[in-house]
Structure formats: structure tokens, C-alpha cells
């Protein structure tokens, strides 16, 4: 078990290495002077010098990479070109809204999507199945922000059930926190529900054709037992895999949703950085989100061993 854990962690290192290298090279390999790219067209020579010094652009490229990586490993994500503040400090207060929305979305999506997928597979070929699949294609196709605005129009503007935009910290009380979280969560859940429901259905259909499901039926146990005890447990591995790989989609969705609902999260931070051409911040956000993605998928790898005894450590 410990060996398996270590191996999974070791396997994650090259992945993060590639991410870091990609992010690093992106700036250096873009044609033109990196400092000029970052500073924009109307930069003064002093601004350019300041950027060069701040990113160490005067050094040979491998030394730049080495110093950058060493700083990263010590937890130094660099300094914003605009505000001159350490990026880590900028991220801190932005985490709560993003994590709240992401967590709420995952929980809501799983609670909705897994039962939908199970029922669709069980009632394969009926109108319920077609309905769930139709819903799932719709979820893939309608852009997050379109869903967001439609929900705002209906529930916030027309019905006035919830506030239009904004965020209140949990420390300000659960009520205000919760009512501002409802719409962003529902918006973001659409695509995630589509993804998970589709995979649950496909995986369940596979498993329902397996011999051991026939054996379970031959034992004379009820349909609920067959579906839940025998089929769902075996169908779980692809489903949690897609929950993990869909996490990248979720992060992208968070960025958009925060813009739609004006949430002061890390997504807003990223978009603001893009608009201000604050590359060190963009760089840091890519590293951070990729790190989260890799960590989530590491946890999912470990979950496999709990779900399927055949997976060797």
C-alpha cells in the first residue's frame, strides 16, 4: 500500500515538471522580447528594465529556469507586475469563494448525476434514458455563461428568489453565504452533471451485461440489490475517473462563473491578470490549478484501491 502511494506520488512529479516547463517556456519562446510583450506597446525603458530585473530575463535561460524553479519549491510564486505584491498573498483571500463554489458543485453534481445515470442505464432505451441523455448533451453544449445569465434572469431578476451577484463570506453567517452560492453552483453543475451522468450510464450499461450481474439475478435477490450492491460498485471506477479528469473542466468553469456572478475568487484574479497582462500571476494560477488537478487525481488513484480489490499496490 505504501509502495503504491509512493509510486503514484513519484509519477505526479514529472507531470508537474512538464507543467512548470511549459509555463516557463511559453513566455520565453513567444517571438519578441518578453519584457516588451509583458509591458505592452507604450512602455518606457525604465519599465522594461524593471520587468527584466524582476523576471531575471538578463540571465542565460537555464539559469533563469533554475532560479525560478528553486523559488517555486520554496513556495515563492513571484511578484505581481502590476501591484508589486507577492502573488501568494494575493491568492490567499481569494480562495474561499472559489473553493466554496467548486466543492458545492462537486457534491451537488454527484448527488444528481449518479442516480440519473443509474436510472438511465436501468431503464435503457426508454424515454427516461433518452431524457437523461438529451439533458447531458444539452449540458455539454450550452456555454456556462449562457446558463448563468439565463438563471440570473429567471431566479434573481424575474422571481427575485436570490441575489443577482456577489459573495458573502461564511463568517458573515450561513444564510447570506448560502443564498449567493446557489446560482453559481447550479450554473457550474450543469456541465459536470452532464459528464458524470453520461459516464455513470455507460459504465452501468457495461456492468449490467456482466456475468456476475446475471449470477446475482439468478440468486433471486431484488432489483435494487442487483443495481446497487453488484452493479454500481463495479461501475464506480470509470465514474470517479471522469470526476477526476473533469476537474480541469470544473476549474475552467469556475473562472467563467466567477466572472458572471462577480465572485471575488481566484478565477476573477486570473481574468483581471489577463486583462492587465500580469504574466507572473497567470503563471502562478496555471501552476496552482494544475497542482490542484494533479492532487485530486492522485486522491482518485488512491480511491481505486478502496473500490476494487483487484488493483495491485
Amino acid at each position: 500500500m505504501l509502495g503504491y502511494l509512493l509510486r503514484r506520488i513519484l509519477a505526479a512529479i514529472p507531470v508537474m515538471g512538464v507543467v512548470a516547463l511549459f509555463v516557463f517556456l511559453l513566455l520565453r519562446l513567444t517571438p519578441g522580447d518578453p519584457a516588451a510583450i509583458l509591458a505592452g506597446d507604450n512602455a518606457t525603458p525604465e519599465q522594461l528594465d524593471r520587468i527584466r530585473a524582476s523576471l531575471g530575463l538578463n540571465e542565460p535561460i537555464y539559469i533563469q529556469f533554475y532560479t525560478w524553479i528553486m523559488k517555486l519549491l520554496h513556495g515563492d510564486l513571484g511578484v505581481s507586475l502590476i501591484s508589486n505584491k507577492p502573488i501568494l498573498e494575493m491568492i490567499g483571500p481569494r480562495l474561499e469563494p472559489s473553493i466554496s463554489v467548486a466543492l458545492a458543485t462537486i457534491i451537488l453534481s454527484i448527488l444528481v448525476a449518479v442516480p440519473l445515470g443509474v436510472i438511465a442505464a436501468w431503464k435503457h432505451g426508454t424515454w427516461i434514458d433518452r431524457f437523461v441523455m438529451g439533458l447531458s448533451v444539452l449540458g455539454f453544449s450550452v456555454p456556462v455563461f449562457v446558463i448563468g445569465y439565463v438563471l440570473i434572469q429567471i431566479f434573481a431578476i424575474d422571481l427575485r428568489w436570490v441575489p443577482v451577484q456577489g459573495f458573502k463570506s461564511l463568517s458573515a453567517g450561513f444564510g447570506p453565504f448560502f443564498e449567493r452560492l446557489i446560482l453559481p453552483t447550479c450554473t457550474l453543475s450543469f456541465i459536470y452533471v452532464a459528464l458524470i451522468a453520461r459516464m455513470t450510464r455507460a459504465s452501468m450499461l457495461d456492468v449490467l451485461g456482466e456475468d456476475y450481474v446475471r449470477t446475482a439475478r439468478a440468486k433471486g435477490i431484488g432489483e435494487a440489490g442487483v443495481l446497487l450492491r453488484h452493479a454500481l460498485r463495479n461501475a464506480a471506477v470509470p465514474v470517479i475517473t471522469v470526476i477526476g479528469s473533469g476537474f480541469a473542466l470544473l476549474i475552467s468553469g469556475v473562472v467563467v462563473t466567477e466572472s458572471v456572478f462577480n465572485l471575488p475568487g481566484i478565477g476573477r484574479l486570473t481574468v483581471d491578470a489577463v486583462l492587465a497582462r500580469d504574466y507572473p500571476v497567470i503563471q502562478a494560477m496555471i501552476l496552482l490549478t494544475s497542482g490542484i488537478y494533479v492532487a485530486v487525481n492522485l486522491l482518485i488513484d488512491l480511491a481505486y484501491t478502496l473500490l476494487d480489490p483487484r488493483i495491485r499496490y
Binding site: V19, S141, P143, V146, Y149, A248, I251, S259, L275, V294
Partner: protein
């Protein structure tokens, strides 16, 4: 007795795995999707003929006008005709969708084929692909565009890069499965060269999944382009794209929701149609998958 009867000579030669265009009208829903997509394509091609106004013409006096006989859908915050801008917007979306699909499939196919066959390339390439997949695609695209400046080409590159790993992994897994097939081993034992085995016995297996994947990449590229524009990280704001129209409409959402509603509707219809056609192509190419995932 199951006598091993010889086939009748009159039996016609039937080719396996033919994708006939009939799948485009397999069910009423798919037929509607095909028609919608065809209309959007026609709209893009004949935009100059269809658009009632110049989509770039600024008319500050006419800003945020409601729908009228002159401006069928009203005007935006700069007084430009919304309908004309939406009609022209189809062009960018389709070009980006098609371009990203073709590019990512060509590059992904090459990487996947080579990785599927050479172990050492595989080890390196798959780590690189894992790394690229770990970066949320919107963030990756944002970074590329914000560095290299916003043009239709950089946006296309930015959208293509994150799609490549998915295509490469798909091709690789098809190749890895196919190379275990006895017919590939048979080809090895009758002395076929590696390029011949790849081209003749492995490549054809990837075509069907790639057609399907291509439609999904296309849908996802249209979506990503719109998101980039919407976030202000896409093609320059005066260019009429559906994402740009909506981005500009954000500030006026409470006053004039049509600025988001109409382009959003067309965008959704376009993506939905491409996705539905992709599903239909998959069902037509692989009847077994239909049983698994069909609709």
C-alpha cells in the same frame, strides 16, 4: 450439422465500416441538428449578402435601440446592428471550430501513432501529454493568447494545444489495443514492415474514433473561443464574434438581455448540433457503442 458451407458466388461484396451520410437523418432530432448546422454554415458563407448593416459601423446616436424594422434585433452599446454582428459572428466560430478540429487531429494522430509503437517515445510523450492535460484548457488558452496577442490564428493555436493530448491519447489507446490483435501479429509473421503495418493495419482503426473525436473537438473549440472572447482574452473586441457580443453585453445585461440572449442561443444551437451529429456519427460507425451510450 453446422456444415461449413461455401459462400454463394452471387453474394455481393460488402465493405465493412462504411460511414454513409444517411446517419445525418437517422432520427428526427439528428435531422434537425443537421439542418440547423447547415443553416449556420450557409449564414456564415453568405454573411455579406444576409447582413442588413455593416457589422462594424459605429453609430453612437443609435446605441442600445430596441428591436425595430430598421434593426431587427436592436443595436448594441456602440449603435452597431446586433443582427448583422451575429450573422458575421458565425464565421469566426466555424473557422475556429473546423481549424482546431483539423489541426488537433493531424498533430494528435502523429503523436499517438508514434507513441503507440515506440516505447521510449511513448514514455516521454505521454508525460508531456499528462502535463498538458493537467492545465485547465481555458487557462492554457488564456496564457497563450495574452502573450502572443489576440488574432484569429493565435486563438486557434491556443484552443488547439489543449485538445492535442486528448486526440493523441485516443489514437495511442486504439493502436495499443489493435497491435495485440492476431491479425497484426500475422502481418508481422508474413514479414510486413513497420510502416506498412502502421498504415494498413493500425491506422484504419483510428479513423472512426477520430471522426467522432473531431466533432467533439469542433464543438469544444467553438465553446472555448466564445469563453475567451467573453473573458476579454479572445479576438479583438470590435471583431464580431458571438463571444465578443456577449462580453460587451455583460455591462448592459439588466437593461438589454438580448445582447446576451441571441448570440448565446445561436452559440448553443451550433454546439448542440455539432455534438448531436458527433453522437450520430459514433452510433453509425460503431453499432456496439450505440448499445452502450446511444440515445
Amino acid at each position: 450439422m453446422a456444415i461449413d458451407t461455401l459462400p454463394e458466388s452471387s453474394i455481393p461484396v460488402t465493405r465493412p465500416f462504411r460511414l454513409r451520410l444517411g446517419f445525418l437523418t437517422a432520427t428526427p432530432i439528428i435531422a434537425v441538428a443537421t439542418i440547423c448546422l447547415a443553416l449556420i454554415i450557409l449564414m456564415a458563407i453568405f454573411a455579406p449578402l444576409l447582413a442588413p448593416h455593416d457589422p462594424l459601423l459605429l453609430a453612437p446616436a443609435q446605441r442600445l435601440k430596441p428591436a425595430s424594422a430598421q434593426f431587427l434585433l436592436g443595436t448594441d452599446a456602440f449603435g452597431r446592428d446586433l443582427m448583422s454582428r451575429i450573422i458575421y459572428g458565425a464565421r469566426i466560430s466555424l473557422v475556429i471550430g473546423l481549424g482546431a478540429a483539423v489541426c488537433s487531429i493531424v498533430i494528435g494522430l502523429l503523436i499517438g501513432l508514434v507513441s503507440g509503437f515506440f516505447r521510449w517515445v511513448d514514455a516521454v510523450m505521454m508525460r508531456v501529454m499528462d502535463g498538458l492535460m493537467a492545465i485547465p484548457s481555458i487557462l492554457l488558452a488564456i496564457a497563450v493568447v495574452s502573450l502572443s496577442g489576440a488574432s484569429i490564428w493565435t486563438v486557434m493555436v491556443a484552443i488547439t494545444i489543449p485538445e492535442i493530448p486528448r486526440v493523441a491519447r485516443l489514437v495511442r489507446s486504439v493502436v495499443l489495443t489493435a497491435r495485440e490483435e492476431p491479425y497484426v501479429e500475422a502481418a508481422i509473421s508474413v514479414g510486413s514492415s513497420l510502416p506498412k503495418i502502421m498504415w494498413r493495419h493500425l491506422m484504419p482503426n483510428t479513423i472512426a474514433p477520430l471522426i467522432v473525436q473531431g466533432t467533439y473537438v469542433c464543438a469544444s473549440a467553438i465553446l472555448t473561443e466564445a469563453i475567451l472572447s467573453f473573458l476579454g482574452a479572445g479576438i479583438s473586441p470590435e471583431t464580431p464574434t458571438w463571444g465578443n457580443i456577449m462580453a460587451e453585453g455583460r455591462a448592459y445585461f439588466q437593461v438589454k438581455p438580448q445582447l446576451i440572449f441571441w448570440p448565446g442561443l445561436l452559440l448553443s444551437i451550433a454546439i448542440l448540433s455539432v455534438n448531436l451529429i458527433g453522437d450520430a456519427a459514433r452510433d453509425a460507425l460503431d453499432p456496439r457503442m450505440k448499445q452502450r451510450e446511444g440515445k
